[in-house]
Symmetry: C3
Subunit: 182 residues, 3 copies
């Protein structure tokens, strides 16, 4: 079964850079990169470009804005970097009816599918995610639901992870190593 690692942190915390270094180290200079972004506008195109410029030839590149579980089995590298969970969640959430009664159950199935696909992989899987819950409660409902689901997704992935790195100002701490066990 795959070893899972979660790398989380706020915006511009340096989490992606850390995760990329970690992936290449664990993969001895070679890893698979599963990108999740859909390109909607110039600002996002620019962000993706900056990300890609760091990815050189060491990477096997995959795109999975949706149905990432179908991508995992096709990867032959020993290390997979999945960047990022919150973008992948956003893509999914924007296709959903937020007022549907079963939205929470659907979310649980959605996130379990991703974790199961990672666990079935023979590779070490590094998930990058975002901390989005340490600000004021957002005024719009979509943002609140997204915030809830992002937090829950991180909890679920962290529970399946060997290591959970919280990145702040480029400094990554494996909080699972220092965690209280009860």
């Amino acid at each position: 079964m795959a070893e899972i690692i979660l790398v989380t942190g706020g915006a511009r915390s340096g989490k992606s850079t850390f995760a990329e270094k970690l992936a290449l180290k664990l993969g001895n200079g070679r890893a698979a990169y599963i990108a999740t972004a859909q390109i909607f506008d110039d600002e996002m195109a620019q962000r993706v470009k900056v990300h890609k410029s760091r990815r050189f030839n060491n990477w096997a590149n995959f795109e999975a804005p949706f149905d990432a579980d179908k991508i995992f089995p096709t990867v032959t590298e020993n290390v997979i970097l999945f960047d990022c969970v919150t973008m992948y969640l956003t893509n999914w959430l924007l296709t959903k009816n937020l007022d549907a009664k079963n939205i929470f159950t659907e979310f649980e199935i959605f996130i379990e599918k991703l974790i199961t696909a990672a666990e079935k992989s023979c590779a070490t899987v590094i998930f990058v995610s975002n901390e989005v819950g340490a600000g004021i409660v957002p005024e719009n409902k979509l943002a609140r639901i997204f915030r809830d689901f992002a937090g829950l997704a991180n909890q679920k992935i962290a529970a399946h992870s060997e290591k959970v790195f919280l990145v702040t100002a480029g400094i990554a701490v494996d909080i699972k190593k220092f965690a209280e066990r009860i």
Copy 2:
């Protein structure tokens, strides 16, 4: 004098779940739960319902959206879980005139009252609170004042606490154990 423990973290960080486990562990399967929510709408009713469904028969349930200091002396359990400080602060703040000159002094009295009540208790008191200050400065004044007061409340409670757990993605780290002492 009571031992005080603070459990803080962002939204959906898993702080309540951790605090509940901790309370039942410290209380050998029995604890008091002081709930602070006022039910305003369906969304909140749903959140409270999810919370309550985790509380089974191991809990003595109390409701204290206001004047929690009057509840503490009535509790006979050895462990009290107070969930949560930021909701309790919100309830109080919504009854106040934010432009009053003495609002800050009133806040200090309000929070000291809560801490004193906890300290006078014979129980171990676990406060759950929220990290709300790590986003962008909010545009509306109430949100800014709330954010300030929530941060200050956490500082004050943490100063009186034996342990301060910061929960991220369900992982709880006792940051007081790793703190710099100066």
Copy 3:
């Protein structure tokens, strides 16, 4: 070359209070304080007043809303507290055309200038900064750019720092001490 220390945290996390104590301890009761605030309104005047009331006679006071690199060489104290990076960034950003193509390059020059000035100083320099990236993505562009630049500034300063304190509820943890090195 100066030793650099970064103290970061959310709003009302107690980061300034911790940084002030640290500065006076390292300076044996005497330190320089470089303030960055521009006074725009009563609310900010009040915040500055609270800050200054903690600064007594132990401090040599400097004001540097802009061009702080010109202030550092004039300071003769052994410890400099710079409070704060995000305010200093805000002052600068508000003078800029956000749509300019070279805004990112300009930002890099701006922040390198600050770091270089600190490194050239003979004093120990303590930078206070804010964590602003752990909430929901802001809707307005200025806030998004500010959030990006604040995060990047923290990364750059942290990379040059001996110690990086993350402050939560008044508790300061040197995350660089516990960091994963790869």
